[in-house]
């Protein structure tokens, strides 16, 4: 007589993973798409400003690959109930952020793009935490899991209906609310809707699924290599989340970098009352940059002549913001003053990282040209 073994109450899902070639191809395509999107977003910005963003996107893609490829083991940290709920809370906050940054007239730079990147990573984490049970094929789940995911869908359904219903009511209620609904649906709200449609049951599942049973001593310990891969995945995820925050703080704390140049420019007329001397006219430019990755620069350029007694501009100066990456600028102002035969050009702006808009830094660049043609730049 043979005894039938009792079914494992937590039978593992059989998830077919793509091979290394398929994974590499997917990563390459994803990277290509991201490069195209990033370059499109960057527009006329300098390539050196885009490069850190591209590097970050590469990090995201690598993290995606490592996290998705990390072998899932019973008792994994992602399976812990607290971690699962934290991931769900993060997804919820991300979605709220996407809606909030979609409000009409709000200038938030590239924050929605960052939120979307976070959302993708959080979805991967959620998929691993729940073993993608919510969307697994019927044959790959046991009876307990089937009941659990059905219940998750039942709980998720009214939430989804409420969100869609709120949008429909906004469309009907009044003209301003209709315009708001249209604007939200045409921007970040669409992604939130798709997120809810495809991931909400998984989120509910992550919340209601009971904690995994404690690891038994007779369960073989995971191989060391798997441990290392999981730790690398965790480190990469932490880095992906921390880098934008650190780079945003860098806008406030990193030292200002000043660059200036001055070249002979004999084309301009001299200041009033001065004899024309081609050797006494120069084109100059000064730039103050701050931050790395999350960065901005303030520029001042123009042309000036001097004649031993006074100095003065000869053509209107160009002044204002240079390249900006994930930074918003406000209060941009430019002026010039003359004193003691020297002319001083001042450009000011208040910079704020788009991700942490409550941080601010007032940046001023001053270019002084004395009557002997010497130029001094002070940040």
């Amino acid at each position: 007589m043979s005894a039938t073994p009792a079914p494992d109450p937590r039978r593992r899902l059989v998830v077919r993973r793509p091979g290394p070639a398929g994974m590499l191809l997917a990563l390459a395509v994803a990277l290509l798409v991201m490069v195209i999107v990033t370059l499109g977003v960057a527009g006329a910005n300098d390539v050196s400003t885009v490069l850190p963003a591209l590097g970050y996107l590469l990090l995201v893609v690598v993290t995606w690959g490592v996290v998705a490829g990390a072998r899932h083991q019973p008792g994994s940290w992602l399976e812990r109930r607290g971690v699962r709920r934290a991931v769900v809370a993060a997804i919820t906050a991300d979605c709220v952020g996407l809606i909030a940054t979609s409000l009409p007239g709000l200038q938030v730079g590239s924050v929605p793009l960052l939120l979307l990147i976070f959302l993708v990573l959080l979805n991967i984490a959620l998929g691993n935490a729940t073993e993608r049970m919510a969307s697994a094929p019927d044959g790959s789940v046991d009876e307990r899991q089937e009941a659990l995911r059905n219940r998750a869908h039942r709980l998720a359904y009214p939430v989804f209906a409420t969100v869609v219903g709120a949008l429909l009511i906004a469309d009907v209620a009044s003209t301003p609310s209709r315009q708001w609904a249209e604007h939200v649906l045409g921007s970040g709200g669409l992604f939130v809707l798709l997120e809810l449609l495809f991931v909400l049951p998984g989120m509910v599942l992550a919340v209601i699924e009971p904690a995994p049973p404690p690891a038994e001593s007779d369960i073989p310990r995971r191989p060391r290599a798997a441990n290392v891969q999981a730790r690398v995945a965790i480190a990469l995820v932490v880095m992906v989340f921390a880098l934008p925050v650190l780079a945003s703080v860098g806008v406030v704390v990193l030292p200002l970098v000043t660059t200036s140049s001055s070249v002979s420019s004999p084309s301009g007329p001299p200041p009033p009352g001065q004899p024309f001397d081609p050797a006494s006219c120069r084109s100059y430019s000064a730039q103050v940059s701050v931050g790395w990755g999350v960065s901005a620069s303030l520029e001042y350029s123009g042309q000036a002549c001097w004649g031993g007694n006074t100095a003065g501009t000869t053509i209107p100066a160009s002044c204002g913001m240079g390249d900006q990456a994930f930074v918003t600028a406000s209060g941009v102002a430019c002026d010039s003053t003359t004193a003691g035969g020297s002319v001083t050009f001042t450009s000011r702006a208040t910079l704020s990282p788009a991700l942490l808009p409550f941080l601010r830094r007032r940046v001023t660049v001053t270019v002084t040209l004395d009557r002997n043609g010497r130029m001094e730049v002070q940040p």
């Binding site: 059905n150 429909l168 315009q179 609904a181």
Partner: protein, 329 residues
Amino acid sequence: MTRRTRRVLTVAAGAATALLASALPLHGFGILVVVALAGLDILLLQTTGGLAFRRMAGLDERQRTLRDLAYRRGFRWIGLAMALLLLILFVSYVAVTAGASSLKETDVDTGITGRIVLATGELLLILPTSVIAWREEDRPGGDGGEGDGGRGLRSWRAWLVLPGLIAAWLAAVAWAAPQSAPHGSLSLGGGPSNATCQEFAGGTMIGTEFGATVGFRADVCWNGTDAFVWGNPRLPLPPSALRNAGPPGLTAPEDLFDPPSPLYSGCGLDNLSDFAAVGPTTCSERIDAGGTLHYTVSARVSPLPLGIASRAVTLDLVVTRTGKVLQQP
């Protein structure tokens, strides 16, 4: 009801939803489709005993399992069903506008139309119930169905929803405050070479999304002397518009400079009459002594035949001879 009957009801509800979401003209009778759909919903709810909406305490193990499964299938169907509705909308739109390719789509932005709002709401409301009605097998000894026990919404009182629905719709169309429907897009318009022209569009919605919209589009030109509408020969051009409009010494007929251009200034082309009829639309123009244009569009919205509970709608556009907009719907 038998399983076969329940499936027929489900298919009928799907067909009515598809009709609602399509671009096929309803000529003001959309409320009839909505009432029919509501009737089908009531039948489906009755035949399933309202299982999708019943409290957990009153359900046995089999019913809980069936209900949870229905919600999972229903959730999965939502995305697919919405995509199908969009496909139906696109295909029917192409079919309906195939013979009118010279007219561009409406310039008036009415948001998500009432038809799509109702079709989406219907999907969200009834999909789990439809899954239950479709899947549940007939019971031995009876003709099957959760509703055969006489519980839930089977009561005749459920049918009171229908007159309530009609009353709410009628009240919305007859008394609800009109909503403005802003322009969908504005662009530089066509017109005589000696004038600056701008396309204007807008409208007024009666009964929110569930009534009718009276819209307008007008290509308004101004030349420093007068402002006028171009592209509608029924509205004559002022003398200043005809002066210097052609080569020196040439006296050309007015229709050479003001050809009919419904694309720019069609009258009544931007009306939407899915749930209430819009009567004949009149577009009139008055240019005062100061050269200011007063363009007026009027129509009558009727939710019921014979003009019962109808409302008059008037839209005014006022533009000065220098192009300054003084009034716009």
